[in-house]
Symmetry: C2
Subunit: 294 residues, 2 copies
């Protein structure tokens, strides 16, 4: 059986290296992106440029979407010139964006009417994970369809978890984002407090990293804070987009999340002062600022 032909939609900082990894793994691939210039690296790696999502999907077995937000996914899958126009029995769509779990279920129903299965498969691991094909992929959808596309996912990620039926991948990603924002709060309040108390931050990091305070954020983002490096591993704008999805969903399922809500509000203050493109570790600046008049 020859390898599937893939339609890849979206060539952002995540999508472009993911598409390149698929080409490296020997898949044939059509590429569409709102901004053609962003797809340059994918085209150079052997991707075939097409003029619309519908055109991308026309001769493809599997469609992958990796765009920003819920309306973007709706537009490229169900809108005019969208994938739905080429959807047919046996085609599988994989949405790797982080979007609303509820809308994911609705999109799945629309595609199902054409015989096309949707797998939601949002990712974690950042740009480095995308480049190195080491993403964590949280997948929702029928096990049989997931089995068919697993080699495709394995060309982009190192851990692929089947979380349940369609929407479960998105839901798991939102849980992931809830947990992440607290660890960013953890290092932001911890380091701002240490600093205000006059402690040496390097020493504080050394004393706390190995124990109960340990987290991925403490290991990876705290050194950036200490170095004054606010370049994004993950952008404030995107974190806030994800936290809005979290809070919308939390309201819908009636599970209050007071800590997440507080963190979202504090982080939105970075966006308010024009720092939406900073890395999420800039949250420490908000906490510092609360004590600025001391």
């Amino acid at each position: 059986m020859s390898k599937q032909r893939i339609a890849f939609i979206g060539a952002g900082i995540m999508g472009a290296p993911m598409a390149v990894n698929l080409l490296k793994a020997g898949f044939r691939l059509n590429i569409f992106s709102r901004t053609k210039s962003k797809a340059q690296a994918v085209i150079e790696a052997g991707g075939v440029w097409v003029e619309s999502p519908a055109a991308a999907a026309a001769d493809a077995d599997v469609v992958i979407t990796c765009v920003t937000d819920t309306p973007d996914v709706e537009a490229v899958l169900l809108g005019a010139g969208g994938v739905i126009e080429s959807a047919r029995q046996g085609m599988i769509c994989i949405d790797m964006s982080t979007i609303s779990p509820q809308v994911t279920k609705q999109i799945s129903s629309s595609l199902a009417a054409k015989g096309t299965v949707l797998i939601d498969a949002p990712i974690s691991g950042g740009q480095v994970g995308a480049i190195e094909a080491k993403l964590s992929i949280m997948a929702g959808g029928p096990a049989e369809a997931l089995k068919k596309v697993r080699p495709i996912l394995e060309a982009m990620g190192k851990s692929i978890t089947h979380c349940g039926r369609v929407g479960s991948g998105q839901m798991t990603k939102l849980v992931n984002q809830v947990m992440v924002i607290h660890t960013i709060m953890s290092i932001s309040e911890g380091l701002a407090f240490a600093e205000a108390a006059g402690l040496d931050l390097e020493t504080t990091l050394a004393a706390t990293s190995a124990g109960a305070a340990g987290s991925h954020s403490l290991t990876n983002l705290a050194p950036k804070i200490i170095a004054g490096d606010f370049k994004p591993a993950f952008m404030v704008d995107l974190q806030l987009k994800d936290l809005k999805l979290v809070m919308d969903c939390a309201r819908q399922i009636k599970q209050p999340l007071p800590g997440t809500a507080l963190a979202e509000q504090l982080m939105s203050s970075l966006q308010a002062v024009g720092r939406g493109k900073d890395g999420t570790q800039a949250l420490v600046e908000v906490i510092r600022h609360l004590g600025q008049n001391r």
Copy 2:
């Protein structure tokens, strides 16, 4: 040079195994504890029971206190029958309790008047760390004095960090507790949200542990939550004691900590319903409860 004689004050779930490890390492040791029965294991391991902190310190080179809160340390060091009555030039006190950094500095001054140096050396690592001599020790005080007692600390811990002058160990421990409480909030809101959404918790844990959401709490406490195990690795009562120290200190140095304050308030609801002896992972029950009427 023969090994120092140690006066050990406090035989709680941390102190008792720490004193036993000192005896195993070949130190001679006097033991005093408010409740004699708690010191039984230390006496059996070769510790010499004495009737007061002053008596414990009379022939000791080094005094170690490992009691609960700030007033307890003040009482055993400076109160009637306290260590101060036997304090003299060259004696070193090591306070391994978690108490107020400010009061630590005051106690240090009182002891200094008798020529006795205080090192604050609070610990992290829990009962298991105490038993296995794998504690993380955050030490504040003069480098020279710390050098003299380092072999003693090494008999109880695996990581000893010199954080700065007296009080810095306590301050670093408070920073540690700020960071810890956020990671407990992280798993509490994350798992309550996942549960309310109908996700399988084991799968969610597998999908999130390896990535950016990772934390010591996710690895060590989340499986307990999933198993419904609320036995303490660290008790709610003690966490709240530490968080009160944090918030008192934060007010004093004028560094607002909104996330920590929220977490403290939510955790205090466990104490309010008589669950102060549960492990800190019981915070998930408070978050669940917020959504109980759904």
